[in-house]
Point group: C2
Chain length 339, copies 2
């Protein structure tokens, strides 16, 4: 029974989240019951949605209970199995949480999935070929549904969702324009991720008109579809450039998680431009996962989607890596390497 280090949610944030909200503990992994599998995690995924779960307030997902292991996606290998479908050494993806090992009732549908690491690296199943990739797919393909030649935009362009979005949009013949923080991320988005243009929002310092002007230059035919990961003044600027019948997929409003008010400046544009704005959470649309994972896996395997990863080392590094990601300090998909 190996020792298992875990990170628990110790208390809820008052405003901004901090390292003091978390607690590192060590336990022993319990002996397996029939049908259970012990998974040794290689990578833990850190994602913005986790911040929402730290609150007690109403949200789309259940609140993370205090004193329990933080929820999170993991990839790893089967260390020990008492389920006939799994053997030691199998590569698996699941929701193991912020810990080094997890015990899984492998018979429950959807809790564990074997993956093929011959053409796609294991860590990609937490990013481009995992939840963030499918999130980009749902927003782009199901909500925005762009026609070839249309212009689509995305915030947090250099992140896990943004990079998959760019590859999926290029595969559909779109012009794709990103918005990211800082010249380095923007250069990377243009040179490595396939964005036609990436705009550095930090150069506009909260000035809606200035960012809207940059969007006009980058999107001479206006914006037909937008994928929102951030909210606030950046969304206000995008709406000023939105075309008639444009669609906005709302996936994240990271700027609002700490509880400050985050109004939309000019909702009259929804009427003036006959827009459709739709919020979604990808885990409620399981039908989209198989076609999305198939296309995303092929894009990664053929090198058309080469997302960058920010990798922190060791479970004890997870809280700081998570807090940094919320402030945009990561560069690409934020992972914690555990082995």
């Amino acid at each position: 029974m190996p020792s298992n280090r875990q990170i628990l949610l110790d208390n809820r944030p008052q405003g901004e989240a901090s390292a003091a909200n978390f607690k590192l503990v060590a336990t022993e992994t319990p002996p397996l019951a029939d049908g259970q599998v012990l998974v040794r995690h290689h990578y833990l995924s850190l994602d913005p949605y986790m911040r929402g779960r730290m609150n007690d307030s109403k949200s789309y997902a259940a609140s993370q209970p205090l004193g329990e292991v933080m929820i999170g996606g993991t990839v790893g290998e089967v260390a020990e199995s008492r389920h006939p479908d799994y053997a030691p050494g199998d590569a698996v993806v699941g929701m193991g949480g912020w810990q080094e090992y997890s015990v899984v009732d492998a018979g429950q549908p959807g809790v564990l999935r074997k993956v093929d690491t011959r053409r796609v690296p294991l860590s990609a199943y937490l990013g481009a070929v995992g939840m963030p990739g499918v999130t980009a797919y749902y927003g782009l393909v199901r909500i925005i549904d762009p026609k070839p030649g249309q212009t689509v935009t995305v915030t947090a362009a250099s992140g896990a969702v943004g990079s998959a979005y760019a590859a999926l949009a290029k595969a559909r013949g779109c012009r794709v324009v990103g918005i990211a923080g800082g010249p380095e991320k923007c250069r990377y988005a243009e040179q490595e991720l396939g964005f036609d243009v990436c705009i550095d929002y930090k150069a506009h310092d909260g000035d809606v008109r200035s960012l809207a002007k940059a969007l006009k230059d980058a999107c001479p035919d206006g914006i037909d579809g937008h994928f929102e990961n951030v909210g606030g003044w950046i969304l206000d600027a995008v709406m000023l450039r939105a075309n008639a019948f444009s669609r906005i997929a709302v996936c994240g409003l990271i700027a609002g998680y700490d509880g400050q008010p985050l109004p939309m400046a000019n909702p009259a544009l929804i009427l003036i431009n006959r827009m459709r704005i739709e919020g979604f959470i990808v885990s409620e649309h399981m039908d989209v996962w198989p076609p999305a994972l198939k296309e995303l896996g092929e894009l990664v395997a053929t090198g058309k989607l080469r997302p960058r990863e920010s990798v922190a080392e060791g479970i004890e590094a997870a809280p700081q890596a998570f807090l940094g990601m919320l402030k945009g300090r990561n560069f690409g998909k934020q992972l914690v390497k555990l082995i």
Copy 2:
């Protein structure tokens, strides 16, 4: 050649619209060319969208040119015809504008439509069985698409759109809750229009939480669909009671036409509740008109939809009646009777 009194847009509003923006003139109707029809208007329709057209700024519709007859829907009878499909005495609906007569190129598709006044009164073709009714139909049936038992709401409940919305929603087995200004309108909405409850927003005096509380009482199962005619704090209150996967059809934002900023307080609710918010303008969805007019005509003919009308007398009364409507002083569909 009868004399024709007309109301022109003389100058654009600076902020609030006023009677000084309009000008009454008299001309003679011109002789008819081949294919033309002279229509004598019985009723002129006054609608909130006209306020948007008075501005020069970008809107969904072309700006009303200065010095020309104000645009508007009309019903009347053919006074003289040089088109084989029309004979004097035919009842017709069209876009004749703010004037007593109009000359129409009757061969152009969609400009003139003969209507049957045996079971539906002529004026109803400007309201319940016209553009406002079809507007209610599009928002309710195409955007909100409610299931039986769901709760749907609407602002400006006692108006032309709201009354049609209530009848259409009841026909679909919904609970329908209105929001209107003043106890008299609310009583009328509940007693005559079929609303299960109508809330007087004036009793809440801009207090979002207070209105949200009233909505909670009126909608114990939450709000599944909402039709927005107003915007601002009332929409903010509705969003606080919106259910997961709820839909909001945005048809009007009357509170914002004068140019003051009108933010949406908490767009994060779009994500938290996975909402869909969609703006529309009914003239862009011509496919919906035939089924909508059929159902609405039947509802009126069978007495299930008995909308009230506010009738001003004489073309010279149109500007004041229009300005009063923008302030909610009308009670039901606002018309001007010309004959």
